[in-house]
């Protein structure tokens, strides 16, 4: 009976929504401050951000070796 399978599906939807509604949330101001802090703390270790020099970045141009 499609009626009862609709019921089962709806019960699952409601269960899921109840679960999602019940989680603990923090304010955006707090969450944003934490995201920012993580960026700042790790900024110096981020080679793409700081622009790592050729000597330490394996992909940047090296001095070319020539065969003698």
């Amino acid at each position: 009976m499609s009626g009862s399978s609709n019921l089962v599906a709806m019960k699952k939807v409601v269960q899921q929504l109840r679960f999602e509604a019940s989680i603990n949330r923090v304010k955006v101001s707090q969450a944003a401050a934490d995201l920012q802090q993580f960026c700042m703390q790790n900024a110096m270790q981020d080679p793409l951000l700081t622009g790592v020099s050729s000597s330490t970045n394996p992909f940047r141009p090296q001095k070319v070796c020539s065969f003698l």
Binding site: M10, A31, L35, D46, F59
Partner: protein, 361 residues
Amino acid sequence: MRSPLVPEMATQEVQLNETLSHLKTESETLKTKLEEERAKLHDVELHQVAEKVDGLGQFVMKTRRTLKGHGNKVLCMDWCKDKRRIVSSSQDGKVIVWDAFTTNKEHAVTMPCTWVMACAYAPSGCAVACGGLDNKCSVYPLSLDKNENLAAKKKSVAMHTNYLSACSFTNSDMQILTSSGDGTCALWDVESGQLLQSFHGHAADVLCLDLAPSETGNTFVSGGCDKKANVWDMRSGQCIQSFETHESDINSVRYYPSGDAFASGSDDATCRLYDLRADREVAIYSKESIIFGVSSVDFSLSGRLLFGGYNDYTINVWDVLKGTRVSILFGHENRVSTLRVSPDGTAFCSGSWDHTLRVWA
């Protein structure tokens, strides 16, 4: 002849409909409550919090390596943990392992299907996984002997009922997480091929997934054609959070390095940032001039930069905190289909429908 059961069935049917409509009302009420709860905590925008942060200067990022060898569109790529090897897969059915420093091809496998949409490197560096229109995810151990036929040792791990869109090893070579056009994600044991957990909740094809950084526990995020991004508990199979703010298919999802947020890229031409603790979208990365879909996103190591590969052949680099674009990179001659930052953050690689991969730094 009238059956004596008809009146009872009619009553049952009425009860069923009443219960169904009660549930529908409850579901509407809960959805409204969810919106209200999220809105209550929306006291500020991310870019406002970041106003005092120094702006980023000019970026000089160029193509440092071009990997040529695929005969058709590159659909997916992944880095090896050794920070130099890359696996890529293509519409022509080929999966290639490259040394990105030298641009040499180290291994090549021809899959029995075309459109190999997903590939991933094993954490040990000793195997790769791939799949696509064959609806499967297969694992190929990488042999040191270049003459060995890799296809002979192939192991079929995952079986879906529609195309494989993405795959990723978990923390070890022993388990693989997959997403599929059949609307589900699944966790598999590589050795036995056994299904360990399945994840139901998307209403349409699931296009992408990303595992949370290991420190943050057993969760992953998936994005789909139903415009939803879902966060899942890997052990229970339960969807623990769901976000629906995109206006079209979500092609790519990637965790912020701290694990507290994730970014998404969509056919609606925007990238968005969702904070998991605030349980809401906290930033949109878009411009009126950007009208083509985003296929792939990834963060730099600190999470300050977000790289997005677009269908208009460009890569846009965004300041995650301020919400502004800091750079636009040209080079590919067709859609950018895949993009990953290297494990040590020194470079990122993009793959394109122009048959090539580029390493940028």
